[in-house]
Symmetry: C2
Subunit: 344 residues, 2 copies
């Protein structure tokens, strides 16, 4: 076993051991399940986020060797079609679309996706049984986002190709059980036989390596790509993300749908209401309509809803998607080398 060399026999470097080493090294092949599934270079998925991930970001991430996703949840069907067409012009690499299954015009989105020949769809927020077969019948790879192992099992049974397991620290909509990424990955790994993409709290190469150590096959990264040049997020929101500090996000609106928000005036109003124990209709009224667009797309930092993950506190610069991917991969490689040279 390789670890024997590192962990027990520090001084046992013999010709025979070297021979064994070389045999092991020669057997190493690029064999990452997620990279293979999507035919991409790195198992890095850019999360499909409302108001932040249009064709510019998706194509830039795909061109950089990851998998870019268009976030369709904030788009009308015609907008989605336009975005897909532009993405196809901007990259010849694989890209995908994220579809929240609770979207009111979901069948129109599915029709656009199929007719435009998109080959990868990430579904979230809904029942994976409803559309997986239709998508698979159209030669589309399907991945479903879950926050617990019960829904992971349901997604696998529905026939999806992989699962995104998203923990409590993730931005935006989130699970009710509040299971963190560190606890969620091994729980889902216990019951799932398909590849697992870890999400929530991942914005660096070290976190990517940590997820691989836990047993995930790839990572989905959202917040880090919000603060990218190509994200369609308003520059005010991007600046807000890079200036945010530890403890500046919190999971709110748990009685409606839990969502991780950055602190601002709107956040404070929700917190006050929740501390007073207001009713669900009152909370719904407070939330109103269009808050997410107002905050993330139009840049109203006071009254808008600002969805971002805990990892925002680690993000200090707006960079291009390619710089972000390259930086993650470089840190990943360096951290792996460091881990290899450590000896416990």
């Amino acid at each position: 076993m390789v670890s024997d060399y590192f962990l027990d026999n520090n001084d046992a470097i013999t010709p025979n051991n070297i021979f064994n080493f070389v045999t092991i090294i020669k057997s190493y092949k690029m064999n990452n399940k997620i990279a293979h599934l999507f035919n991409i270079q790195y198992p890095i998925i850019q999360g499909g986020m409302i108001w932040c991930s249009g064709w510019e970001l998706a194509s830039a991430v795909s061109n950089a060797g990851g998998l870019g996703l268009i976030g369709s949840g904030s788009m009308y069907p015609d907008t989605l079609r336009d975005q897909i067409k532009k993405c196809k012009m901007a990259t010849n690499k694989p890209f995908g679309v994220n579809v929240p299954l609770l979207y009111p015009d979901i069948h129109k989105h599915i029709e656009v996706i199929i007719s435009e020949g998109v080959k990868i769809v990430f579904t979230s927020a809904g029942n994976p049984n409803t559309w997986t077969k239709t998508l698979k019948d159209n030669d589309i790879k399907v991945v479903h986002v879950v926050s617990n192992s019960k829904f992971a099992k349901k997604a696998e049974d529905a026939g999806v190709d992989a699962i995104v397991a998203e923990g409590f620290e993730a931005g935006g909509h989130n699970g009710r059980e509040e299971t963190t990424t560190l606890c969620l990955i091994p729980l889902i790994k216990k019951i799932a036989s398909i590849p697992i993409i870890a999400a929530g709290g991942i914005g660096t190469g070290r976190a990517m390596l940590a997820m691989e150590a836990l047993g995930a096959d790839g990572v989905q990264i959202g917040s880090r790509f919000v603060a990218s040049e190509e994200a369609s997020a308003n520059i005010n929101f991007k600046n807000c993300v890079i200036n945010s500090k530890e403890g500046d996000t919190k999971l709110m609106l748990k009685q409606l749908t839990p969502v991780r928000l950055l602190k601002n005036n709107f956040f404070d109003a929700v917190q006050d209401a929740e501390n007073k124990g207001v009713s669900i209709p009152e909370l719904t009224l407070l939330l109103g309509k269009g808050r997410a667009k107002k905050g993330m797309f139009l840049g109203d930092l006071d009254e808008g809803e600002l969805e971002i993950g805990q990892v925002a506190a680690l993000i200090k610069e707006i960079k291009s998607a390619k710089e972000i991917v390259d930086e993650i991969i470089l840190e990943y490689k360096q951290a792996k080398e460091e881990l290899l040279s450590s000896n416990r």
Copy 2:
């Protein structure tokens, strides 16, 4: 660089490369900061937990190659002295005491620790400035438990030797910012120059490896050791832990001191009260006195306070401390070997 061999040059196994490899391998030395700091075999600390970690558990973990901690928070000073004496009889390996600094008779605890010649103290829940100097002056290694980087900095400035960085998923008392272990470690690593021990959500070798990948120097494990033969927890509580499922714990009593609890009758009563928005005095009255002892030590699973981490959902068997340590190390080694052989 080592990673070049694994990541880019699959087929480039030349005599020169082999020579470089051997040089690198020969330079590997046992150089873990935490193992070195405490003079232990593995950088695994057993969390000092009220009602669960007396001398039997602490000495068993230390004898197994980790660092056992007596949890003094649930002990009178005389009990603590007796526990330390018994621990010294049961092991000749290093062990320590965890001291919550808000303990009312804290000066008596400190006196017992110094007079009994304990050489390692983990402090938590309080100001690290108050006792660190006294302890250090008595040749005691001091580690402080924190849940954010502000307190990590404060602890380092107070002169502690290492920091335990404990995330949202941890059992028992917890930080207000709800930062998860995955996000907390890199945040603290940015500001701390002393060694970091990761805590919260860690019960397996893979999680230990993931924390090393993130940059932690060691791990503190609590929940996994509650379900050990040597833990002083009531057998009812131990059985409750191994039968608990995903989503069965939640961070409660946030208006008092946030604490992660296992769901039971008492939990439901707290949840009802919190949903109604009751006042802090009403919550304090509901909590009452002695709930933790009632639940964890006396085994009243209905009305007792059951403190455990999210990772409980992964724990399925009560084992000896030695079996637990051995299992973690075996999984750690296997996962490290697997990671080494992967190629992204």
